[in-house]
């Protein structure tokens, strides 16, 4: 069985009289350790897909399975537990808790998951070192640059050692250098941890790092292909591919 499986998933948004099919009968699988970009124009259903994968929302029909569990059948508390254990999020606007410093932001999901103090410390310190912020642990978000904040967010997403990290436009608010640095860190951590990374993005730079590109339009998947060498989590160094056509679609 695949780690993540969507079966004929439909999600409809009703805004006034207008009904929008954000997802229209989508069936797709994601594997542990994937590094995948969801691309497509605005309104194509990328973010909705992430929200359903992240158990932040429920499908109107069809089912989302994570490690074989139909998440639609779970109570809000069980969904919170599942999020806490298996899913990390990275948002466009970094979404750190402003009153917590870098260390505490990364520690938060571990506190919520009930990880013991000693292990928390090891993991948080290790992750902040891995994203190059060992000297910024006591800095609050407003004392850090956008690039640094996004790296804290990456460390936070990985802290619970989740099955997958869902990232919605992770580079949209970063300059080129910071965007590439963030992508390189995520790529490195993807290889080291075998955590799946699924990005919703318009950014050709992000797509260029992906090993699998899923193209969406009008709530449907119109293209799904392996663009790197297909190896998951191995030492791939030359998988950056020309994706001009995909980039144009975004």
């Amino acid at each position: 069985m695949q780690a993540i499986h969507l079966e004929k998933v439909t999600k409809i948004y009703q805004i006034g009289e207008i009904e929008t099919r954000a997802l229209d009968g989508v069936t797709i699988d994601f594997d542990a350790g994937e590094f995948t970009a969801l691309v497509g124009p605005s309104g194509s259903g990328k973010t909705t897909m992430l929200q359903l994968l992240g158990c932040l929302d429920k499908a109107d029909s069809g089912a989302v399975f994570i490690n074989g569990t139909d998440v639609g059948t779970l109570s809000p508390n069980k969904r919170a537990e599942l999020r806490s254990a298996e899913i990390g999020f990275i948002f466009q606007f970094f979404a750190l808790i402003p009153v917590l410093d870098a260390y505490e932001n990364v520690e938060m999901p571990l506190l919520l998951a009930g990880v013991p103090a000693k292990e928390r410390k090891e993991r948080v310190t290790g992750l902040l070192e891995a994203v190059g912020l060992a000297d910024r642990m006591k800095h609050r978000p407003d004392q850090m640059s956008g690039g640094q904040q996004q790296r804290v967010a990456i460390a936070r997403a990985l802290a619970p050692r989740p099955l997958m990290v869902l990232a919605d436009e992770p580079t949209a608010n970063l300059d080129t250098a910071n965007g590439e640095q963030a992508m390189e860190i995520m790529q490195k951590l993807n290889r080291e941890t075998r955590t799946a990374f699924i990005f919703a993005t318009h950014d050709p730079r992000v797509v260029s790092y992906a090993r699998r590109v899923v193209q969406m339009r009008d709530g449907r998947i119109v293209d799904d292909r392996i663009v790197g060498d297909g190896a998951m989590g191995d030492g791939v160094t030359s998988e950056r591919v020309a994706v001009a056509s995909v980039g144009a679609a975004g």
């Binding site: 929302d57 899913i87 999020f89 979404a95 009153v99 917590l100 999901p109």
Partner: protein, 410 residues
Amino acid sequence: MASGKLWSLALRGLLRNRRRSILSLLAVSLGLALLIFINAFIAGVIDDSLNNSIRLRTGHIQIRAESYRDEKVSLQWQDLLSDLDTLMTRVDSSPNLVAAAPVLWAGGVLGTKDDSAGLQVVGIDVDSDLYRPIRESVVAGAFLAADDRNGILVGRRLADSMGIGVDSTISLTVVDSDGVPQDAFFTVRGLFSTGIVTYDENSVFLPLGKAQALTHTEGHASAVVMLLDDPEAAEGVAVGLRGPGLSVQTWADLNGSFLSTLQTAQGFYLILDLIVMLITAVVIANTLLMSVFERFREIGILASLGMKGRQVIQMFLYEATLLGLAGVGVGVLLGGAIVWYLTRYGLYLGDDAASAAGETYAMSSTIYAAFVPSHFVFLSLATLAVTILASLYPASFAARKEPVDALRAL
């Protein structure tokens, strides 16, 4: 998740918008200080009125003839106490006794050359400690002497309004025991001012012997008034004094209308307390609701990290608890300062307010608050509870939202 971390999050939540937190803290503090003030003030009014009434009017126990009716101020012999010596011997052997003396009450009219006023004439045993409050409140001239045959003590407010003073001559008309009006001239020996407006305006004092002579009630008295060292002992002492033809009443009976008014009033004060608490609650609920709206995104982030609805509620309840504790702390200090000041220096309400309080309340023109520790404890706990309860709606509102709705702003 350790609740220590939630407390810390709650504290930081409060500290991030300091101005708003301080304003809500002030709402709690001022609400509590106001409640403490109101309750201490009301307790002060009650204590003051009851003490004044007991000290100047009713005493702790009164013995009267069974047929005596307060409202009639009858001077007919069958309505009066006779054989005062025997009765006083019994009274003097009562436990807890501080002072006791016979008193004669009569309705009368005081007249000057060009004015007259209806009032209560009180014939007193001028040597008795019972009348120390009157003796001590003489503000001009002197108190009466037992053998003074034409001296009278007049309230200063009455004297002022009638344009008389010490050594003025006035006429006093009373209806005697046979229903015949009796006239006599008196010289004002002294003016008293007890601070109880109704008293200072409506009473004159004569030595008991003179009052008896004027009303032809020699050897009789309207009542024997007793002052005890412990009000709680009154009931027991009264029981020991009951006998045929006698009516023995305690301060609780004698101030019955005051005490029953008090009971009604207490319901009203409770409503006042509730209104203040409600206003506090609305301010707190509003502040926290604003705080929830502002942090909607953040709640969504925490939810995406795996925070459960219960923990979101807990976080906001902790915030309200911290706000409430700080607010109660400041409120107790503030209310305590006000009460301290008012127990020491009092609040001058003026004679009109005291006069408006009327016959039922023997209210002084300056009111001293009463410090009641249990009020502080009860009001503090109630305010804290109200603050926490007021946060329940905003907290559950925050927790009810689907994480995706909270994150939509992202």
